[in-house]
Assembly symmetry: C2
Homo-oligomer: 188 residues x 2
DNA sequence: CTCTTTCCATACGGTGGCGTATGGAAGACT
DNA sequence: AGTCTTCCATACGCCACCGTATGGAAAGAG
């Protein structure tokens, strides 16, 4: 046991950092090895193949994101206050979560769509629960919850493509706007 | 001039088909050549490199999508009726437009973010114009227009990841829901 | 009929990714 | 001390993709 040796955890950690920066496509065996100052020989001693590393990274990601939602659930406050907190969270994490931008598209090809689907479902369920607490019936709350999540991800996509909201409208306002819309009852 | 020869247009057409199926990543020189029954030698006579083909494909895409929006603009009807038409259009094209799913993420890397940004802007502007005609002020209409476009793209992303709306909520309802929400004024 | 231009196929070199083979260093065990 | 297990580096083979080099067929010009 060398003290400077690389356990599987170090590999997963380094790979997770790469995922967080540039998505699953960036978690390449040689690249992660370079980050770690290790070599492929080490990697293939700890892992069967790249897919195993990717699966571990996604497991870590699921854990982190699930804990995050649980934290959100356990907060107190009215639904409106909680949506305000959600706004801060979204805007705050929008910048750093670069890896998630590409995740939805690559998920199927990497065989991790089950994990992604579960995390998505938890997010949708969380927002839906908030909206249900705010007075919407279950089905409408779920539709709106899905819409909020979709819109946030869509904003990321539009920004990743060349689009900018423009001088009159800031990006943060868009998130605020969808949250406001989600709370406005339909009827007249 | 052989009658069975391949002009640049044939290459662009075949490449566009690939883009439409599986995104820009699928427009590979050898693959398109195989589709056409041609070889790389032919390709590199008509094009300087792959980027030139990709640019041509995106130009074609921009043309098609822009014409589409113009068609939409020229239709008559109340804003509500026009949004209903937009709904049909979105749901109808959601299935076939597989290539656009990956476009926003790959745009920067392929150097086509300018085109993508322009098309996005036209779509946002179209929906914003509808909403402004429905009584919203310009800024609010723009925010909501962007939200509608983002939500639709977000739904595609969520579906591409493993997520399904669930047994109680259909995918089509989500599109209907965001359009309805976009038309509901904020005040009480 | 010959020569030139146009168009294209085959073959090659280069890069970057994954996974494997092999040897070796360093501790653990006896 | 000698051996065995653990961990890792270097080197290799393989494949997919891009772009280039080269030779050649087919059609038009004269």
């Amino acid at each position: 046991m060398d003290m400077a040796s690389f356990g599987a955890d170090e590999w997963i950690e380094a790979a997770y950092r790469r995922f967080n920066e540039d998505g699953l496509a960036a978690v390449r065996v040689e690249a992660v090895a370079r980050d770690l100052g290790a070599s492929k020989g080490s990697f293939y001693w700890h892992f069967a193949d790249r897919a195993e590393l990717v699966a571990a990274v996604m497991a870590k990601w699921e854990q982190i994101e699930t804990d995050f939602v649980i934290d959100l659930v356990e907060r107190a406050g009215t639904p409106e206050e909680r949506l305000a907190v959600l706004y801060d969270v979204i805007v705050d994490r929008m910048r750093q979560r670069g890896g998630e931008r590409t995740l939805y598209v690559t998920a199927a090809g990497e065989g991790v769509d089950a994990v992604v689907g579960r995390v998505t479902e938890r997010r949708v369920a969380y927002v839906a629960a908030l909206l249900e607490a705010a007075g919407f019936d279950a089905d409408e709350a779920r539709r709106r919850g899905a819409t909020v999540v979709a819109a946030v991800i869509g904003f990321q996509q539009l920004a990743a493509g060349g689009w900018r909201a423009g001088p009159r409208v800031e990006t943060g306002e868009l998130t605020a706007s969808i949250l406001r819309m989600s709370l406005t009852p339909a009827g007249r």
